[in-house]
């Protein structure tokens, strides 16, 4: 893209590499909205771009570190949270945010996630959950919603990530969908100013793989589906938060203490 063809710049363009656009994400993907909410939260808190570290791993979520003009690190699968802990140890003034996806988290990085939470590392974890691990293809994965079709027809209860984060000792746990981008922004502002381990789960539509299963391929229909099938319940006990495909997705802020 030729830069001289742009007459004016987007308000977030000071945080973005303009050459990395158009981005690799599909139309209607939730990762872009999460990045927008993160940039808006950083702007609201008036943090210098040199004092923010962003760590991401592999896959579509790993491309976050390519498009942001901050201190970004793209590391190998499974070492994401561990790397962020080391980064925070090295420079205590740095605000460190971690963009995780299912492959970085449940496939190989779960031990680091639990250990960092237990030690109370001062991190912001943005976990982009799109119900998909491409490596597992159509087989059952720990996050596959209950009673969803899979190739091996085994039904098992999905992993309850907010409950795991709370039992690890997280001081801030929230869950949003991309439709609730405004709430996501204020949630990130609260998480940045909080001392302690904070986790925000973003339930993001994956139109390529999730669309094949749910038969909703259009971006706007997918957005309406999440709007109709989510219900906001703040301070809900985290035991009730597992995802089942027949029930509505419960969103909101669940844990908040110092």
């Amino acid at each position: 893209m030729i830069r001289s063809s742009i007459e004016r710049y987007h308000p977030a363009d000071s945080f973005l590499h303009a050459d990395s656009f158009p981005s690799v994400w599909c139309q209607g993907c939730g990762i872009g909205t999460a990045v927008y909410a993160f940039i808006e939260a950083v702007k609201e808190e008036n943090i210098s771009p040199k004092k923010i570290g962003v760590v991401s791993g592999i896959g579509c979520t790993g491309k976050v570190s390519e498009c942001l003009k901050l201190k970004t690190y793209s590391v190998i699968d499974g070492n994401v949270v561990d790397y962020a802990v080391q980064l925070k140890k090295k420079d205590q003034d740095l605000t460190v945010a971690v963009f995780l996806n299912n492959a970085d988290f449940l496939l190989s990085g779960a031990k680091d996630f639990i250990e960092a939470g237990k030690r109370g590392a001062n991190l912001i974890i943005i976990y982009v959950n799109n119900f998909i691990c491409v490596i597992s293809e159509n087989k059952v994965f720990p996050i596959t919603p209950f009673m969803r079709m899979s190739i091996d027809n085994e039904f098992e209860l999905p992993f309850n990530i907010p409950h795991l984060a709370k039992s690890c000792g997280a001081s801030y746990v929230a869950r949003w969908t991309p439709i609730h981008a405004g709430w996501m922004k204020y949630s990130l502002i609260e998480a940045i100013s909080k001392k302690g381990y904070s986790m925000i789960e973003v339930i993001s539509p994956c139109l390529i793989y999730d669309g094949n299963d749910g038969r909703i391929q259009d971006a706007v229909d997918r957005m309406k589906f999440y709007n109709d099938n989510s219900v906001m319940k703040n301070e809900e006990p985290t035991e009730n938060l597992d995802l089942r495909s027949q029930n509505k997705v419960i969103i909101g802020k669940f844990v908040d203490f110092e």
Binding site: W25, Q27, I31
Partner: protein, 75 residues
């Protein structure tokens, strides 16, 4: 409202979310294609814009935003 809606057409992926979330139907999908082959939105009636910022918030590709115009002296 004294606002201007800016669209970078080369960034757009034609998902149509900005057209859907607009409460006052300012935007519509045009037949104009960009270099990637996506249908880009265009401004239908800019005077009805309320500057709520919903199109900017939901655009995952940072392609659309609303700017308030600088006030012209004596206009």
């Amino acid at each position: 409202m004294n606002v201007e809606i800016c669209i970078i057409k080369e960034r757009c992926k034609g998902c149509g979310i900005c057209v859907e979330v607009c409460q006052t139907d300012v935007l519509e999908l045009s037949d104009e294609l960009n270099s990637q082959g996506y249908r880009t939105p265009r401004v239908k009636s800019a005077e009805e814009c309320l500057n709520c910022g919903m199109c900017e918030m939901f655009c995952a590709d940072f392609a659309i935003w609303v700017m308030t115009k600088a006030e012209e002296v004596g206009a």
